[in-house]
């Protein structure tokens, strides 16, 4: 797995996220920096959610405000499966394959986004 694979997956997710009108309703007033970190390889990315869309996907971990930062950790393969709609993030959390460092409400919001984009 090379650095481009997770990055490509997240770019594709960004496009799906931004194109979905129901997601926009869900993330109204919800500006966040979402750090996506692969624990078994180097890739770390930060998705910036601002004004109803993911405005940027930056390499590296960014964002300092504790209240607006969400940190996801998993193996690269697991992250790719999650952001491809191939692995339910709630199940990944329960299975211990994914860690989500955020408030409880933000965890729920992330799962809600997954529900809206891929349906469950």
């Amino acid at each position: 797995m090379n650095q481009g694979t997770l990055g490509d997956c997240l770019r594709s997710f960004q496009n799906e996220f931004n194109a979905n009108e129901r997601v926009k309703k869900l993330v109204k007033g919800w500006d966040r920096s979402i750090v996506v970190e692969a624990t078994d390889s180097e890739p770390v990315f930060t998705m910036i959610v601002h004004d109803l869309i993911i405005t940027d996907l930056q390499p590296g971990a960014h964002g300092n405000d504790d209240n607006d930062l969400i940190h996801l950790q998993a193996s690269e393969e697991t992250l790719i499966r999650i952001f491809s709609g191939d692995y339910n993030p709630a199940n990944a959390l329960i299975d211990g394959e994914l860690s989500v460092f955020s408030s409880e409400k933000d965890k729920v919001k992330l799962e809600a986004v997954a529900i809206v984009i891929w349906g469950m």
């Binding site: 191939d86 329960i94 409400k105």
Partner: protein, 423 residues
């Protein structure tokens, strides 16, 4: 109520010793839980830790047993709140108060309403400080009608020692819930120190509160009076403060409802949600409000179960039975946590652990065997209950096993994990 239960079988001094030793046990258990949390940070604790450590049937049985425990405890707490409320409003029906409390809690949580964080902290601090302050006051201002202090009682030491294992497990009931903090880490670094330290700190705080209060009760009320009521705090505050003491007892109960009772309901609802996401429960149990994030299905399901539990507790006055059985259940679950930490050291020796329990292996194994043994002993500690607690626990274990069996059959059906496969 558990302090009243302890008073029924032992003296105040031995109760305080049991509370102290129980706190020590819980601190040791918390170290294992902290190690598990560092391996699976932010995971829904009991479900994940037991799932990765044991086979499906065993782990699910334990999870359902824990859920049953939460239902029992909520039923007892709502009944006790009703008993305290009737001191202020004696004309209100007990069942009406219970239904009112449950309805209020269910509606508030379904709507996703919650107290601001600062208010939660203030109300909890107020609760703790009130109990400690009024406890110390009760120790200082001894009731002259209570002849001699029963806190230090050197009689029948052997008999008291025999009861100690059971009283320790009963006292564990006072500390349960400390493990729920493991889901709350906001950063990976939190699982290196903050989360592992927060559990023993919480336990020590509760140890102080309960020890002071258990002692203070004995300085204000005769032992028989304490054990004769499930809400001795009411008589305590009346003895200390006069007729208005009832309002103080009620005020403290209200503060407790806003914190611990509500947290218990939400914790149970989230556990139901987690089980549903895995396919172990029907889909409607996992309904979630996308707007507020409230696990609506879990709240309503748990609310219905707690209502049944409350009706049974109120109708047949089963509060002490429920508490004794609950203590035994929790002793099995806590033993499972410690065993899970041992098992994962073998299964996943190279897995990332940002915290390791400092307890030596032999001590962990001792806990694994001691906790269930003490839990079983506690089932026979209440002389007037004879075999009721043991029979009740047996029925509940069979029920939990059956639910696990049904869940495995349900999950065994072709249910694709991948959404795209379904499409």
């Amino acid at each position: 109520m558990m302090i009243a239960g302890l008073s029924a079988i032992t003296t105040a001094g031995w109760s305080v010793l049991a509370i102290f030793l129980s706190a020590l046990l819980c601190i040791l258990i918390s170290a294992s839980i902290a190690e598990l949390a560092s391996m699976y940070p932010s995971a829904p604790g009991i479900r994940t830790y037991l799932k990765v450590s044991f086979d499906d049937r065993l782990s699910l049985t334990l999870v359902y047993l824990y859920l049953i425990f939460m239902v029992l405890v909520a039923g007892v707490e709502s009944y006790l709140f009703a008993r305290v409320t009737k001191v202020i409003f004696p004309g209100l029906p007990t069942m009406g108060i219970v239904f009112g409390l449950l309805a209020f809690t269910i509606i508030v949580n379904t709507l996703g309403l919650e107290l601001p964080r600062s208010l939660q902290i203030i109300s909890t601090l107020l609760l703790l400080l009130s109990v400690i302050t009024l406890g110390v006051y009760g120790i200082v201002k001894v009731n002259p009608a209570v002849t001699g202090s029963s806190l230090i009682d050197g009689s029948n030491v052997l008999g008291q020692l025999k009861l100690l294992p059971a009283t320790i497990i009963m006292a564990v009931f006072l500390f349960t819930g400390f493990e729920w903090v493991t889901m709350l880490g906001l950063r990976p670094q939190a699982y290196e120190r903050r989360i592992p330290l927060s559990m023993p700190l919480a336990i020590v705080t509760l140890l102080l509160v309960y020890s002071v209060f258990a002692s203070a009760l004995s300085y204000q009320l005769p032992r028989q009076t304490i054990s004769d009521t499930p809400v001795p705090q009411v008589l305590y505050f009346i003895s200390l403060l006069g007729p208005n003491g009832g309002y103080v007892a009620w005020g403290i109960s209200v503060l407790a409802i806003f914190s611990t009772f509500n947290a218990g309901i939400m914790g149970g609802a989230r556990l139901i949600y987690v089980l549903t996401r895995e396919g172990n429960l029907p889909k409607w149990c996992g309904r979630m409000s996308l707007r507020t994030g409230a696990p609506v299905g879990g709240i309503i399901t748990l609310g219905a179960l707690v209502t049944v539990s409350s009706v049974l507790v109120v109708t047949y006055e089963l509060e002490l039975l429920a508490a004794v059985v609950g203590s035994a259940i929790v002793s099995f679950v806590y033993a499972a946590y410690v065993l899970a930490a041992i098992v994962l050291r073998r299964k996943q020796p190279k897995a990332r652990r940002t915290f390791r329990t400092p307890s030596p292996r032999w001590l962990q194994w001792l806990l694994v065997f001691l906790l269930p043994a003490m839990g079983l002993a506690s089932l026979f500690s209440q002389v007037n209950m004879q075999f009721q607690p043991a029979l009740t626990l047996t029925v509940l274990i069979v029920l939990a096993w059956f639910m696990a069996h049904r869940s495995l059959l349900r999950v065994g059906r072709p249910t694709p994990n991948s959404v795209k496969e379904r499409i």
